[in-house]
Symmetry: C2
Subunit: 478 residues, 2 copies
Amino acid sequence: MAKQDKQVEAITAMDQDFAQWYTDVVLKAELIDYSSVKGCMILRPYGYAIWENIMHNLDRMFKKTGHENVAMPMFIPESLLQKEKDHVEGFAPEVAWVTHGGSDKLTERLCVRPTSETLFCDHYANVIQSWRDLPKLYNQWVSVVRWEKTTRPFLRTTEFYWQEGHTAHATAEEAQEETLRMLETYATFYRDYLAIPVVRGQKTDKEKFAGAVSTYTVEAMMHDGKALQSATSHYFGDGFAQAFGIQFTDKNNKLSYVHQTSWGLSTRSIGAIIMVHGDDNGLVLPPRIAPIQVVIVPIAAHKPGVLDKAREVAATLGEQFRVKLDESDKMPGWKFAEYEMKGVPLRLEIGPRDLENNQCVAVRRDNGEKTVVSLDQLDKTVAQLLDAVHAGLYAKAEQSLNSRIYDATDWDTFTQLIAEKPGFVRAMWCGDLDCELKIKEQTTATSRCLPFGHEAIGETCVCCGKPADQLVIWGKAY
Amino acid sequence: MAKQDKQVEAITAMDQDFAQWYTDVVLKAELIDYSSVKGCMILRPYGYAIWENIMHNLDRMFKKTGHENVAMPMFIPESLLQKEKDHVEGFAPEVAWVTHGGSDKLTERLCVRPTSETLFCDHYANVIQSWRDLPKLYNQWVSVVRWEKTTRPFLRTTEFYWQEGHTAHATAEEAQEETLRMLETYATFYRDYLAIPVVRGQKTDKEKFAGAVSTYTVEAMMHDGKALQSATSHYFGDGFAQAFGIQFTDKNNKLSYVHQTSWGLSTRSIGAIIMVHGDDNGLVLPPRIAPIQVVIVPIAAHKPGVLDKAREVAATLGEQFRVKLDESDKMPGWKFAEYEMKGVPLRLEIGPRDLENNQCVAVRRDNGEKTVVSLDQLDKTVAQLLDAVHAGLYAKAEQSLNSRIYDATDWDTFTQLIAEKPGFVRAMWCGDLDCELKIKEQTTATSRCLPFGHEAIGETCVCCGKPADQLVIWGKAY
């Protein structure tokens, strides 16, 4: 029996079943394939190309701020994982354990890294001697493994891809500055490359990273109003340094412990792109990370001159942009649907009549806007259109975020907003863990962060009514 | 007790103890650190930067030939690994087994990938339907794990970094062409980026990859005359396709199995760089992959104008090259030794007298040659000097290789050459496994390859004396 060629089929409407829409998009846009390993995804060429563009641009930002890449082993001996008490408690329940090498049982179990603080600390203890060796500003691009019960492509997978920065500094102040510098780097990256506005803030103690003094986060709002923790940055004080003995001789010849940070952004960011910008026709990609920025579709390609001109345009634009010319024998309408599904930011249509007029038709993916543009200085026009797509995506996402942040000063309003209004709710909190737990239990909303630069909206805790001076943003989360 | 600042100390002389020299270089040049995980190395910033440059350039060559990057899971379920009989026999004895996720025992063991043929095949069976889906030209940049008894940095480590290409084609011919195309890509890469000449050839059946129909190799000769298998390319026929059911509908609507290849180059290539180009002062890096191509050392930096001029030169050259200006307060001689250890291809010295004459002193790392060069059009001079370093390194390595390939037509000459002359020995072979095993047992030399384009040097097997029509290159190997 012959297998059939694939066709782009319609996907579930977003507002009908958002979860199914998401699954349809990641599969139909050929971002991933499921694998034989439970909870692990295969990044297909189109999905991996997005990640490559994310890596390339973020890595450049890291290097500009003096960071260097390294590679640590993927395994952590059990005894090393156990050196910092809070850290092992947080991660041990969700790691994969290697117990055998070939047919031999190992004398000590190794876990596959769920994160690499312990490996970096072990190395730092070895290579940091003097104040001259500081700061150490290291990063690595790797995959990590956390044994998850339920998984969804990009959002929560057993193995996922990320970068993890790990730095060591002479003073607490320097380390705190680094923690916030990298949080700001993430916010800038989300704004300038992914066209996604984020809320910056600090995590509550309950939500902070295992072993951290404080954890900072950038939170984005998805189309369905849910929050996605989009990157985090942690300040460790000298807790890990004490556990691992990372000491240096300062300028006065005195031994001191280093102060440390770590920070990470993962393939979750691709989930954010999908759920912030996508629509009922599929993916919508921000131009600066789109694997294909411009697709050229010849119309009536058999007519004299059409294909030649399309190739000429593709060659010229290809010097400056990521361009694809689709010369296949599929119908133009079929191609339109395919590249819309794949979220290509700009489509150029070139047909016989366009040749006569030295023009083509440009169609924006984000809003469907069609413009007839001259082939003269097309590179400049395309650059402007791509910038316009980026700006348009950001403005729409910002409007969507800002219009769905609500305030609650009493419990009834709070629970009603969480239950009925997709989005974030701002409310005062007394700082008590019991209130945080009660809110989660009764509403399923969690504290997303104590946002930076927000003023108090009351004086009492929305949950218990006791005095409160902390403003928290609450929301349901992925 | 205060820790001491590090100093560059002398290393063991190459010809006194080559193995110790190698270890000294990888540590003193700060390429790696040992980790707490047996057999796994930490790639430090300088070592990883070399790998980044290798990845960057080789990836560009892959993309030019139409290859796309993907990411497969790091785990392989035991049942998947077992699908191809020869493959599992070859790899099962040396894999790491994950048996537990958190505190739960897994229902099926997972191995950490030692190589990913089985994962790619599983995916290909899922995404290949029609001839329109072919060829699939996929690659991934990852680390893999093989449980090794004895390890050495870069040459043989439990976890190592590599790229693995995996392709599927409609016909055997196309797949065979791809196998040789990628072998040639590796040879070109070694020549043009690493300044290393290689011998191309086919592996004997004994030495071929587990599950392959045929394996091709590029072999390089190290300073001590030993061979390093530097990259391999495998042709699989349709063996894996049959085991995994990878079928497609061809243009005549008939179901056929695909034909496949795989090919890989690893961090071993850094071992090759060290052992081909290094000398008693440390590392010598080919300019095109050197993390620092030009180091600028100011002489009498406190004298007026020196540091300003050095910064100006660094800024100008920095637009085109990877440049480091060392402004630290160390003595110039100390800096010379440090950057020689690190193998920086070109050093520029700028002192007060140079300022007066609008010049600087350029010193080549490969041969120590000093030239006084004008600061006018310094970028062109530097480009020429770096090209000259590359050409010089290649010529020296080629001379070293060619002058140490010997011919043997009888057993006594053969064993004497292997025992006394570091290098390769060419000899005729009957094709019998027994002879190959006897040679290995009695001389420790292994068949490196049946080299391309070499003519027969006799008519009888150097081992058994029976008729022989295959020329083999033999050598001791890493």
